[in-house]
C-alpha cells in the first residue's frame, strides 16, 4: 500500500486540546465584529449592499460587506479579488459540536467543485469537507492547528478553512445566497 505524497497539516498534540483549554462557552458561535478590511469586487450573483437583518456578524458599516454564497453541504465561500475564502456555516458548526482537529489540504492542491478536501473532527465523528468551486488552494488557516475551536467560535471570520482561486467564477451562480441557505436550513429542520 503506497503512502500518499500529499499530507494534511500536521497537528501538534497541543492543538487537539485547545478546545478543552479554552472551554468553549457554548455551541452557538458568537461572531465578533470584524475589522473593515474586506472589499468585495462585485461579480455575478453578488450583492452591493449589506443585507437588511443579516445578523451573522456583518458589520453595518457601509464600507464593509462580505458577500457569501452557500452550498447544500453547509460550506460558505466569499470572494475578494478572485480569491475565495471557504468555511462552514453556523448551522453546521453547531451541529458538529466542538471541533478538535482540522484535516486540511496542502497549498497548491487543485480541487474540482464538490471534491472532498479535508475533514473536521469532533470527539464523536468526522465530517468531510467538500469544495464549493473549482480552483487551487492558495492558503490554509494555520491558526486552526493550535486552536481548532475557532471553527466553532468564529465560523465566518477567524475560523475560515482555506482560500482558493476560482477557475470558473460562474460556478458561484450555482450556489445559494444567504437567504436561500436560510430557507434551505428551515426545510431540513421541518
Amino acid at each position: 500500500m503506497a503512502l500518499r505524497a500529499a499530507r494534511s497539516v500536521r497537528v501538534t498534540a497541543s492543538s487537539l486540546w485547545a478546545a478543552v483549554a479554552t472551554e468553549t462557552p457554548g455551541s452557538l458561535a458568537s461572531l465578533p465584529a470584524a475589522p473593515a478590511r474586506i472589499r468585495v469586487r462585485l461579480g455575478p450573483g453578488s450583492l452591493p449592499f449589506p443585507r437588511a437583518g443579516a445578523s451573522r456578524g456583518l458589520c453595518t458599516s457601509a464600507l464593509r460587506f462580505a458577500v457569501r454564497k452557500f452550498t447544500d453541504k453547509h460550506e460558505w465561500i466569499s470572494t475578494e479579488n478572485g480569491i475565495g475564502t471557504v468555511g462552514i456555516s453556523n448551522f453546521a458548526q453547531e451541529a458538529l459540536g466542538d471541533v478538535v482537529y482540522c484535516s486540511l489540504p496542502e497549498v497548491g492542491t487543485k480541487l474540482n467543485k464538490q471534491d472532498e478536501f479535508g475533514a473536521l473532527e469532533s470527539v464523536k465523528a468526522a465530517s468531510e469537507l467538500y469544495s464549493p468551486l473549482t480552483g487551487e488552494v492558495t492558503e490554509i488557516n494555520v491558526a486552526l492547528a493550535e486552536d481548532p475551536g475557532l471553527v466553532n467560535k468564529s465560523c465566518y471570520e477567524d475560523g475560515w478553512l482555506i482560500k482558493m482561486t476560482l477557475s470558473n467564477p460562474s460556478e458561484l451562480d450555482e450556489l445559494m445566497s444567504e437567504d436561500a441557505y436560510e430557507r434551505y436550513i428551515k426545510s431540513i429542520e421541518d
Binding site: A2, A6, T12, L28, A95, Y101, S103, V123, K124, A125
Partner: protein
C-alpha cells in the same frame, strides 16, 4: 454508537432536530421519534425530563435517548471526570432470576463462576454460544434476596430474553425450580469522583461499605425499593440506581439539585468508556469474537475453565495457549483521530487488522482506539500504522485502560 461516513454532514442529520430546537426554542418533541425501521422508538421514564433539560434526542438500539444536553460533549465528558454526571441507562434490560436453581441456569449460559459470588457481589460476565462467540456482555449480581440481578445490553434485549427464557423452560421441564422476571424500573447512573458523596446525602447506608461491584437495596432520597450497585461504564467511581419508574424523574431532579451533578448523554458515555478501555458490544465484541480474542479471558471462571462447562469452552480454552489470529488491543496515536473500520497495517504496510472503536481522548491529548490485530502484533509498544482517509497514521499498541480507572475497591 454510529460512525458517520459517506454522507456529508451525516452528523447534521442526526443532530439537526436538536440544533433546530436549540436555535428556535422549539422543543424537539414536535418531531415524532422514529427508528430507521419506522417503528416508534421506545421511551424511558425520563424522556420528558430529558426534553425539558435541553436533551438532543437520537435513536439508539430502538430507544429515544439524549446524545447530549446544552453542554458540549467535551464539557460533559470532563465534568464526569472532575465532578459527577447523571446518565439515563434505563434502556438496558434488567432481569431477576429466582428459584433454587438460578445459579445452575446462569452458569449454563455464562462463562463465570457464579456459585462463588459472595452475597451482594456482582461480576461482569459473557453469554457465549456453542462456537465460543460472545452473545452479550452483562453484569450478574448474587443478591442477598434470593435472586440474581442481571443487567444486559439494550441492543441485545430480544436475543438475551429468548436465551434466558428458553433455558428457563428447558430446566423447568427437567424438574428444576427457576424463573425469570423483567424488572421494569428506570436505571440511573451517577458517575464521577463526587458521585458517592452526592448519593450519601440521600441514603442512610454507609456507602463506604458499598465497594466496587457490590449491590444493596436501600431507600434513596425517600424513595423505597431502590437497588444501588457500585458499578458503571466510565472508569470512575459511581453507582447505578434501579428505581421504580414512576419515581425516576423525582430522583433525577433531586440529584440534579446538587451542583456537583450535571446531565450527560450517549456522546460522553461513549468517550468515557473508551478512555476506560471498556468494550461496546456490537463494536468491539460480537458473536464472532471469543472471550480470548476479545482480551476478556479474566471473565472465564477458574472452576469453569477446568470443567470446560460453559458454552463454546472446547473452542475457547485451547485459544488461551498459542497464537491468536486476532486479538483486541488498545492503540494510541496523534494527528487525525482514528475511527471505527479503519484498517490497521504493520510498518511494512501489510493489513493486519481493523479498528473497532476510536475517538480523540478529551483527557489525554491524543487519540485512543481499540481494534483487532493478528496476535503476533499484540504486544504493548508495537508500532503500527492506521489508514485514515487514505493516509497512514502512526499508532502504537497501548495498555488499557488509557485513563487510569478509579473504582472504589476499598483498599
Amino acid at each position: 454508537m454510529q460512525r458517520i461516513r459517506n454522507s456529508a454532514w451525516g452528523l447534521l442529520d442526526l443532530l439537526c432536530a436538536g440544533a433546530a430546537g436549540v436555535r428556535s426554542g422549539r422543543p424537539t418533541a414536535t418531531r415524532r421519534p422514529l427508528s430507521s425501521g419506522q417503528e416508534p422508538l421506545k421511551k424511558t421514564p425520563l424522556f420528558d425530563f430529558h426534553q425539558s433539560h435541553g436533551g438532543k434526542m437520537v435513536p439508539f438500539a430502538g430507544w429515544s435517548l439524549p446524545v447530549q444536553y446544552r453542554d458540549s460533549h467535551l464539557e460533559s465528558h470532563l465534568h464526569t471526570r472532575r465532578h459527577c454526571s447523571l446518565f439515563d441507562v434505563s434502556h438496558m434490560l434488567q432481569t431477576k432470576i429466582f428459584g433454587k436453581d438460578r445459579v445452575k441456569l446462569m452458569e449454563s449460559l455464562v462463562v463465570s463462576d457464579i456459585a462463588e459470588l459472595k452475597p451482594n457481589q456482582g461480576t461482569l460476565t459473557l453469554f457465549t454460544n456453542e462456537e465460543g462467540g460472545i452473545i452479550d456482555d452483562l453484569i450478574v449480581t448474587n443478591t442477598s434476596d434470593d435472586y440474581l440481578y442481571v443487567v444486559s445490553n439494550a441492543g441485545c434485549r430480544e436475543k438475551d430474553m429468548a436465551l434466558m427464557q428458553n433455558k428457563v423452560s428447558e430446566l423447568k421441564s427437567a424438574g428444576c425450580d427457576v424463573n425469570l422476571e423483567v424488572i421494569n424500573n428506570a436505571l440511573i447512573a451517577l458517575q464521577g469522583p463526587s458521585a458517592a458523596q452526592v448519593l450519601q446525602a440521600g441514603v442512610a447506608d454507609d456507602l463506604r461499605k458499598l465497594t466496587f461491584m457490590t449491590s444493596a437495596m436501600m431507600d434513596v432520597f425517600g424513595i423505597p425499593g431502590c437497588r444501588v450497585t457500585r458499578c458503571g461504564y466510565t472508569g470512575e467511581d459511581g453507582v447505578e440506581i434501579s428505581v421504580p419508574a414512576e419515581k425516576a424523574i423525582h430522583l433525577a431532579e433531586v440529584l440534579l439539585e446538587n451542583k456537583e451533578v450535571k446531565l450527560a448523554g450517549l456522546a460522553a458515555r461513549d468517550s468515557l468508556r473508551l478512555e476506560a478501555g471498556l468494550c461496546l458490544y456490537g463494536n468491539d465484541i460480537d458473536e464472532h469474537t471469543t472471550p480470548v480474542e476479545g482480551s476478556l479471558s479474566w471473565t472465564l471462571g477458574k472452576r469453569r475453565r477446568a470443567a470446560m462447562d460453559f458454552p463454546g469452552a472446547a473452542i475457547v480454552i485451547p485459544q488461551m495457549k498459542g497464537r491468536l489470529a486476532r486479538k483486541r488491543v488498545g492503540l494510541t496515536s496523534t494527528g487525525a483521530p482514528i475511527r471505527q473500520h479503519s484498517l490497521i497495517m504493520n510498518t511494512e504496510g501489510a493489513v493486519i487488522g481493523e479498528i473497532t472503536s476510536g475517538c480523540p481522548s478529551p483527557c489525554l491529548k491524543k487519540n485512543v482506539a481499540m481494534g483487532y490485530v493478528d496476535g503476533g502484533y499484540s504486544k504493548i509498544g508495537t508500532p503500527l500504522l492506521v489508514e485514515v482517509r487514505k493516509k497512514q497514521q502512526e499508532a502504537v499498541v497501548s495498555k488499557m485502560p488509557f485513563v487510569p480507572t478509579r473504582y472504589y475497591t476499598s483498599k
